[in-house]
């Protein structure tokens, strides 16, 4: 957020600055007085360490991401738990799953042990679409990276397009995180957190 507020204007194409038209503007003041945000004051500028933190976290994301994908392929997590199996892909199963989500039904005991179909699809989307795309659009903004791999930014329509896309993909990831944590809460926070971290599900007990 600190990085965005230093220039809360978004563009499409190669270049964009205070003299060019925007695609859209965030209705917030900026942390730099270069930007005409329409507000008479600037927000505190914390862009420096925010950027250090951002890029350090990006590396952490890349390493844990690669480890996760590598192990998911090796131990069958991807095949067994993430790829929807044939029966799940029928419209019937699909609509049933959506309906139960819309009724906010708590997951059954069997569901606690595996991912349901909507879960599988959204995880696959996050792991194989959103995360790679957020990394790609990020790299597409790097002047040194695109000097070696110019296609990374050219196919996105330019450096400012990459910035705008990066912003939206990040928003999608934040949204996923919020919904994800919300649903974990809904399904029982303690047992689910334990299961996520250790990978082992405690079988729900009845009548205790």
């Amino acid at each position: 957020m600190e990085i965005v507020i230093s220039h809360p204007r978004f563009y499409w194409g190669e270049t964009g600055n205070d003299l060019t038209p925007t695609l859209f503007k965030l209705p917030i003041p900026a942390s730099r007085n270069l930007v005409q945000s329409g507000y008479g004051y600037v927000l505190p500028d914390q862009n420096g360490w925010s950027r250090y933190l951002h890029f350090q976290s990006a590396w952490l994301l890349v390493f844990t991401g690669l480890l996760y994908v590598a192990f998911s392929l090796l131990n069958g997590h991807l095949r067994k738990d993430l790829l929807p199996d044939g029966a799940d892909l029928s419209w019937r199963a699909f609509s049933k799953s959506i309906a139960s989500h819309l009724r906010f039904e708590r997951p059954s005991a069997a569901e606690a042990l595996s991912y349901n179909m909507l879960q599988r699809l959204s995880y696959l989307f996050v792991i194989f679409i959103l995360f790679p795309f957020v990394i790609w659009t990020g790299l597409a903004m790097s002047p040194a990276f695109v000097s070696a791999v110019p296609a990374a930014v050219n196919v996105l329509g330019g450096q400012q397009s990459a910035r705008t896309l990066h912003f939206f993909v990040s928003l999608a990831l934040v949204l996923f995180l919020l919904v994800h944590v919300g649903m974990v809460w809904f399904a029982g926070f303690k047992s689910r957190m334990w299961a996520m971290i250790t990978g082992r599900a405690a079988v729900p007990k009845e009548g205790a």
């Binding site: 990085i3 965005v4 230093s6 220039h7 204007r9 190669e14 270049t15 964009g16 600055n17 205070d18 003299l19 060019t20 730099r32 007085n33 270069l34 930007v35 862009n47 420096g48 360490w49 950027r51 250090y52 933190l53 890029f55 350090q56 976290s57 990006a58 590396w59 952490l60 005991a109 069997a110 042990l113 903004m141 790097s142 002047p143 040194a144 990276f145 695109v146 000097s147 070696a148 110019p150 930014v153 050219n154 450096q159 400012q160 910035r163 334990w194 250790t198 082992r200 599900a201 405690a202 079988v203 729900p204 007990k205 009845e206 009548g207 205790a208």
Partner: protein, 267 residues
């Protein structure tokens, strides 16, 4: 009250307390090997100049990874060049540091007395006037300036490649960095030799077919095409060649890390 399980536990549903001793030992060994590997990697990286001067502190690891990987990947790559029709109109002069009296008096003289002094690990320490710099064959490039704030513009930059000037003063082979200073005492930066000798690193005195406007760093700006705008220091008066950045400022390589920004801005 009876506790009946709703489902037969499968072998996967073990309690987390049954982490085996073997697993602990394997993990321990892997971790030790990892730490030892990091140590060796750090030594190799140091040897090949892959450690940035601001590698200390909490964020040092991320910075080092970025700098090292980009040095390996992009040592000779050229920044994207654009067509003349893509030049930003109107040209964008960004916020100006207040110009000091030294600048103003040189400006009053039409910059006729502007000098660029070159010192450090060179055979012939020298001082160049703008006219002398312009007597070298001029080069131009149409490249983008990207600010860390998020804005950008494209312009044609005209000047002499820094490598030409470094060749003229005969840089010692042990040189590792070029440190360059603005007439504004708070703005100084440094680059490694890969960027210093890069064909798109220019001592820039012209822009879009004319003189370099003061708003864009005139009369003389060091243009570093593959890094963010703050590395392209405006109003250059002095540069020095060194193999050790520790002796400059707080030893972090440039004024950027002293203000909280990364030394390497190729991101």
């Amino acid at each position: 009250m009876s506790e009946t399980s709703t489902r037969e536990p499968s072998p996967r549903d073990l309690s987390p307390r049954t982490l085996s001793r073997r697993k602990l030992i394997t993990t321990g060994l892997a971790a030790t090997a990892g730490v030892a590997g990091l140590g060796v990697a750090a030594r190799i990286a140091q040897r090949y100049g892959l450690i940035p001067p601001d590698h200390g502190g909490f964020y040092g690891l991320g910075e080092t990874l970025t700098y090292a990987s980009q040095r390996l990947l992009t040592r000779h790559s050229l920044a994207r060049e654009f067509s003349r029709s893509q030049i930003s109109q109107p040209p964008f002069p960004n916020e100006m540091p207040p110009l000091n009296d030294a600048f103003k008096s040189l400006q009053a003289g039409g910059f006729a007395d502007w000098r660029l002094s070159v010192s450090g690990m060179v055979a012939r320490p020298s001082s160049f006037s703008l006219a002398q710099l312009k007597s070298y064959p001029s080069r131009s490039q149409i490249t983008m300036v990207q600010c860390e704030e998020g804005w950008s513009y494209i312009a044609e930059w005209i000047g002499v490649p820094l490598s030409q000037v470094l060749q003229a003063v005969e840089v010692h082979p042990q040189a590792k960095y070029v440190v360059y200073f603005s007439i504004d005492p708070d703005w100084w930066e440094s680059i490694d030799m890969a960027d210093a000798l890069h064909p798109q690193t220019f001592l820039t005195y012209g822009m879009n077919g004319g003189e370099l406007p003061v708003g864009n760093g005139g009369p003389l700006r060091l243009r570093v095409a593959r890094q963010l705008g703050y590395k392209s220091v405006k109003f250059i008066t002095h540069l020095t060649v060194t193999d050790n950045l520790k002796t400059f400022g707080k030893g972090l390589g440039s004024s950027a890390p002293e203000g909280g920004y990364a030394w390497y801005a190729g991101i």
